[in-house]
Amino acid sequence: MLLTRQSRRSSAPELSIAPMIDVVFLLLIFFMCTTSFRKLEKDVPAHMPEVGRGRQQDFDPVRILVVARDPASPWRCNDQGCPTVDVLVARLRALRSIADVPVVIEGRKNPKFGDMVRALDACYQADFHRVAFSAKGVEP
């Protein structure tokens, strides 16, 4: 049986671009979504004076100790244990109501970096302005 060929193709081959546009738009939307969903990073100032270069203070600074592996009171503010950051902030606010003295944050037994930063943030929450990390107790 002889089948007659269907009408000949037109001279230029036609390219279907509809699926390509679909894919391209999908990619575009994907990139737009992933870039906007990243959590925004912020920052806080951190200061650690060089050993021996710290200024001589006229009055005693507030001393915060961050003790590693002490779940009962990871933070100690002027030797008073603080089980949570909120307790630490409350203590610092009470001290801030007296004066804006310098605050020194010291790490004991190599604590977590996050706990040190939370102590720093607690100082800023209590509206202290002169906050510094202490190099004391840090292994060189």
Partner: protein, 142 residues
Amino acid sequence: MKLAKRQRPFGTDINIAPLIDVVFLLIIFFMTVSQMTKLDVEEVTLPEARKGKQPPELAVGRLVVNLRTDGTIVVGRTPCTPERLRAIVAREARTRGDAELTVLVRGDRDAPWNPAAAILRACAQARIHRVRVAVIDAPDAP
């Protein structure tokens, strides 16, 4: 001279070539930007804070120092020792000027404190006073 008008076919043709151009351009832009932003940024879980401030959009004169969970210091995707970091910070302070240089410490919240203190100490030795710690907003931040 009379020119014969070409008859348009039925219906209007929309030229989608420029649209595809623009869309591809946008895709390439997003891909490049997402790659560029990852150049000096490590995947770390930043500590949470309530008093974090938005950094300036322009990151000129900023040195990013990353601190991984295991305490490794990473600058520009290269792990380095505290001594090497000290040399990098001193060199950056010399070339950019210590008054203009800001050091951003991006530390993992579970990283040990000692290497973080080494970073801060290196900055203090290079007389860089603009040191900042990267944080993310705490869930209950104002």
